[in-house]
C-alpha cells in the first residue's frame, strides 16, 4: 500500500514526460492539459492500490493511456482504421542516403538531430493513426518495453510489435516527406560508392 499523502512528491518528477505524452496523444494543448490533470487526479485516488516498489512511471503512463483511450473512444464515431501503407525497411536511411548524406546536405558537423525541425517531427508523429501513435510514443519517446506497452494498452505483445513496426515505418515516410518538401531530400540516392 502506497501512502496517498506522498503521491504528489512521488509523481511530480514524471509530470514533464507525461505532459509530452499527453500532448502527442491529444495533439492539442488544451486537451493535453485536461488529460494530464485527469490522469493525476485518478492516480491520486488510486494511489492506495499502487504497489510500492513497482514501477511508478509505468503505472502513471497506464492511467494516462487508459484515460486518453476511453475519452477518445467516447468521442470517436468510427474506429481509426487508417491504412498506413507499406514502407520498406530502413526507409528513411535508404532514401536520405544514410547519415553522411543527411549531414552533407547541411554542414559536415551537423547531426541528424539538426536535420528535422521540432515542428516536423511533432507533425510526423501526430499524423500517425492513434493505434500506431501511442505504441511508437511509448517505445521511442518513453522507453517502455514491449511487455509494458502490451500491459498498458491491454493488447498482445505481438500486436505491439506489429504496430511499432508499421508505425515507425510510417513515421519515417512522414519525416521523409517533410524533408522532401523542404528540398532536403531529392531523388533516391544510389547506395554505392
Amino acid at each position: 500500500m502506497a501512502d496517498q499523502s506522498t503521491f504528489a512528491e512521488h509523481a511530480e518528477p514524471f509530470m514533464g514526460q507525461l505532459y509530452t505524452a499527453a500532448l502527442r496523444m491529444t495533439r492539442n494543448p488544451a486537451d493535453a492539459e485536461d488529460l494530464l490533470q485527469e490522469t493525476f487526479l485518478r492516480a491520486y485516488r488510486g494511489f492506495g492500490g499502487f504497489e510500492e516498489g513497482s514501477n511508478l512511471k509505468a503505472w502513471l503512463y497506464r492511467i494516462l493511456t487508459n484515460t486518453y483511450i476511453n475519452q477518445y473512444r467516447a468521442k470517436q464515431r468510427r474506429p481509426d482504421e487508417t491504412d498506413l501503407g507499406e514502407q520498406e525497411d530502413l526507409f528513411l536511411f535508404r532514401n536520405l542516403g544514410g547519415l553522411e548524406a543527411a549531414r552533407a546536405s547541411r554542414s559536415a558537423e551537423d547531426e541528424l538531430m539538426d536535420f528535422f525541425t521540432d515542428a516536423e517531427v511533432r507533425q510526423a508523429v501526430d499524423d500517425l493513426p492513434v493505434n500506431f501513435r501511442i505504441p511508437v510514443l511509448l517505445a521511442d519517446v518513453d522507453g517502455f518495453s514491449y511487455k509494458e506497452i502490451a500491459e498498458m494498452l491491454d493488447i498482445p505483445i505481438g500486436t505491439v510489435m506489429s504496430r511499432l513496426h508499421r508505425g515507425r515505418k510510417a513515421l519515417q515516410k512522414g519525416l521523409y516527406d517533410y524533408a522532401s518538401a523542404r528540398g532536403l531530400a531529392g531523388s533516391r540516392p544510389e547506395h554505392s560508392t
Partner: protein
Amino acid sequence: MTMQDDQPPGHDDAGHSDASHDHAYPLAGECTEVVRDLYLFLDDELDDQRRSLILGHIEACSPCLEAFDFEVELKQVVAARVAEECPAELRDRIMDMLRGALPPEDRA
C-alpha cells in the same frame, strides 16, 4: 506492390565477409535477418545469444553498422524533438490540486 519495385539492381553477395561491401536492396543473407531484428536489438528485446550474434555482425559489416547508427540517432531525434516543457501554470495547478485543494473525501 513488391519491395523490389524501384530498387537499384541488387547483387547476390550473401555474406558480409568483405567489410567494405555496399548494401544492395533487397538485402541478402545474414544482413536481411540482422536488419529485420534491428529494432528488437535497439529496443533491447533480444535474448543474449541473438544480441551477441548481431553485435558480431555489425562489427564486421559496416553498411549494417551505419544503418544501426542511423536508427539509433533517429530514435534520439524523435524523442528529443517531441519533448515539450510542461507549462508552469499547469504544473502548479495540478500540484495545488494534489496538495489539498481536493474535496475532503479525496484526502488521505
